[in-house]
Symmetry: C2
Subunit: 146 residues, 2 copies
DNA sequence: TTCGCTGCAAAGGTTTTGCATCGGA
DNA sequence: TCCGATGCAAAACCTTTGCAGCGAA
């Protein structure tokens, strides 16, 4: 059973669990993200955290974000960001995305109408497309690794 | 009925339909993408197109890609690329992504097990996650626009 | 005290832009 | 001929990195 800790010691506990130092920069970044309802970019996070620690640098934000992702506390919401990729296939289809090399392969729509599955979306959001992104490891990277 | 045209005049026809000039650079970029089975980045496309037009610049590749996307011939396979976005929500969930402002909102998993729906994936791809990305226009942008 | 973390500044990678020139219609 | 497209170079944007000094343990 997790002990009922206040915010500060809960954060220290978390850091100890993962073997990282509990700096106040990390705590501020952590709390700002956990209080967010959106999915902030490092830039936006920097703005928010600076209200508490005016001198914190953007590089530190990036480092904190990577650290928390590495230890599995957060994920990257923006899948396969990086260079644009062109898709000339206009028929509905989904993507197999390799986490290691970033390669993308189409797979057919196969009669799965996701817009129907997600029929009860928030009424206020005007949806036009639903794409399934299937993340994993491609054949080449399975062979190549280790 | 579309006339049966050879490659060159088919391309000219397409350009005329969309009111853009049929330059040989655009034709080479167009053909390279249409012959691709992957989803090339501008960089990779540049390499490939240079086999035909050694002096073509990377800026032209970017401009062509934007043009073909603008007229609706191609899409962007890499959804919401750009700055990283942090996602501290570790429970399975999907995303509402606004095409205009890039904002992302979580929607609940709602019992839809996409990995089961996509049960018959290519055996060789080792899938670990399926995320549905629901693209459209958020409330704020619906109000803001025009 | 020690080692990991921060802040700064520089560099790396991707994309856009301004402008002179070229070429398609 | 005319206007839009290209090529180049510079700038803008996003992210990573190296290193000296700081601070958590």
């Amino acid at each position: 059973m997790t002990p009922n800790l206040d915010s500060l010691s809960a954060f220290r506990h978390l850091c100890r669990q993962h073997g990282i130092a509990a700096t106040h920069q990390r705590q501020a970044v952590y709390e700002c993200v956990m209080e967010s309802n959106d999915h902030p970019t490092p830039e936006l996070l920097h703005e928010r955290v600076r209200r508490r620690i005016p001198m914190i640098s953007l590089a530190t934000i990036y480092k904190c974000v990577h650290t928390f992702m590495r230890i599995g506390l957060w994920k990257e919401a923006s899948l396969h960001h990086g260079p644009v990729r062109v898709d000339p296939n206009l028929r509905p289809h989904h993507h197999l995305v390799c986490r290691m090399c970033g390669s993308m392969t189409d797979i057919s729509h196969s009669g799965v109408d996701l817009l129907r599955i997600f029929g009860k979306l928030p009424r206020r959001f005007r949806a036009d497309t639903v794409v399934a992104e299937i993340l994993g490891t491609c054949v080449d990277c399975q062979i190549r690794r280790r």
